[in-house]
């Protein structure tokens, strides 16, 4: 059977979720693998959310926020950026491919970029194959 990845996306309310909404209202076609969750700010994306997504069977996690300097709360997206860099370092140590998490800046007017991002990220994850976190954690050896 063809591998159909499950991807979680955390989108900030002010830019990225609105951008994703624009992609929808503009009737752009893009891959259906991404499950978006709206958060108030990319600075609200606790690393716990990302790790829990992997633990519950996500194959990839997408983080989106406002462009640097555009954060509605001024600093949130920078915090997200730093956490993203630390998280990548951590998951690499745990044997998870760092390509499985991706941070991109999507503004409210970038519906097209969002659709392209979803397509390219789905492509990356499809090539990587299923994430083995859930399967490994279920079995005690």
């Amino acid at each position: 059977m063809e591998f159909n990845p499950k991807i979680m996306a955390f989108l900030c309310k002010w830019c990225s979720y609105t951008g994703a909404d624009l992609a929808g209202t503009s009737r752009m076609e893009y891959k259906p693998n991404v499950h978006p969750i709206r958060v108030m700010c990319s600075g609200r994306i606790d690393p716990t959310f990302v790790i829990k997504a992997f633990r519950n069977g996500a194959d990839g996690v997408l983080l989106c926020g406002c462009h640097p300097g555009d954060c509605h709360y001024q600093e949130g997206n920078y915090k997200c950026l730093r956490r993203y860099h630390l998280l990548k370092k951590y998951i690499k140590q745990m044997g998870i491919e760092t390509e499985r998490i991706k941070l991109e800046w999507i503004s409210a007017s970038e519906g097209k970029q969002y659709a392209e991002l979803v397509n390219s990220f789905t492509q990356t994850i499809t090539e990587l194959g299923p994430c083995r976190v859930n399967e490994t954690m279920e079995v005690l050896t």
Binding site: P47, T48, Y78, R82, I91
Partner: protein, 324 residues
């Protein structure tokens, strides 16, 4: 009046542990006489000549209080954990290893094969011309000798049996043990089963005596020997990693009083689902850089984030072991 009351039956056992938890029980010093006056120690391998068979012969629920320290590393630990669960009314996961997996849990970065290969073949001091490995069964003239099975995964006690209470710490503070023990002996109302006892609900930082400002901005992380600690300023503000922001209180700040940053042995605060990610969140937010390359430069000083943030808690985190 103590004579009229039946004495409490108590057991202490070690799984994969260093022995420090058992020593912390002995650290009650002369109060041990009060403990012995209130409780019969029916099983305690480090101090008493009791055998597994003695426990097996006890009726179910015979022991009132069992302090189980150490992680579950092999089949012997698992067998005794299950046996003591059956024989005990209250089973307490005592210390970081049985609470969260502890230091032995760091073995989850390796597989069973990695460990056996390193220990029996690769270490610099090993000479093993016959390429021998321990076997679970070995036949000798007197019969068959058995060794416990070494597992691939290290587990916390609660992953193996139902645990009534968790007492964190590496080792737990003896004063907390005395408080808990007194509560049980006097029949005081105990918290809801499954709770953490003998520790606070707040984070270390909330009650830490070091001087903190709101300006936590870090351009570089230092190792403790690289900083001349002034003894009063918050460790994080001096660029030293400290687990204070997400670690429970209850340890009486032993490390911090000794001018060493917190290592997180009391485990995460009650609202943290995963011990390390909360800390990653806190640490990343205080880095004072905005460019990806500069952030990576600061993070270079965090050589081993997984080992640091999950020092005592790897087996009970979301990603319990390294994927192989």
């Amino acid at each position: 009046m103590a004579e009229q009351k039946p004495k409490l039956k108590m057991a202490v056992y070690w799984g994969a542990a260093c022995g420090g938890c058992c020593v912390s029980v002995l650290d009650v010093h002369e109060a041990l006489f009060d403990v012995v006056a209130a409780a019969d120690l029916v099983f305690w391998p480090i101090a008493l000549d009791t055998k597994y068979q003695d426990v097996e012969e006890m009726p179910d629920g015979h022991i009132d209080l069992t302090l189980f320290n150490g992680a579950v590393r092999n089949s012997e630990n698992e067998h005794i954990a299950k046996l003591l669960r059956q024989k005990s009314k209250i089973l307490v996961a005592y210390g970081s290893c049985s609470h969260l997996g502890g230091i032995p849990g760091l073995a989850n970065f390796s597989t069973k094969e990695d460990i056996l290969q390193r220990v029996y073949h690769d270490t610099e001091s090993t000479t093993n011309p016959g390429n021998l490995r321990p076997q679970q069964e070995y036949e000798v003239a007197e019969g068959v000798l058995e060794l416990p099975e070494f597992y691939n995964d290290v587990r916390a006690l609660a992953d193996v049996v139902k645990v009534d209470y968790f007492m964190p710490g590496c080792p737990p503070q003896t004063a907390r043990l005395v408080e808990v023990f007194t509560a049980i002996v006097t029949g005081a109302e105990l918290p809801y089963p499954g709770s953490v006892i003998g520790a606070g609900d707040k984070a270390q930082c909330d009650e830490c005596s070091r001087i903190k400002s709101d300006k936590k901005k870090i351009k570089k992380f230092y190792r403790p020997w690289e900083v001349f600690d002034d003894g009063v300023t918050c460790f994080l503000e001096q660029g030293l990693l400290c687990m204070g922001p997400t670690t429970r209180t209850g340890c009486d700040f032993r490390c911090i009083q000794g001018n060493a940053p917190c290592r997180g042995c009391y485990g995460p605060t009650p609202d943290a689902n995963d011990p390390g990610t909360k800390m990653m969140s806190a640490i990343a937010s205080v880095i004072d850089e905005r460019e990806p390359a500069a952030i990576d430069k600061v993070l270079e000083d965090l050589v081993d984030p997984a080992g640091y943030f999950y020092r005592y808690s790897l087996p009970s985190s979301y990603i319990r072991r390294k994927l192989s």
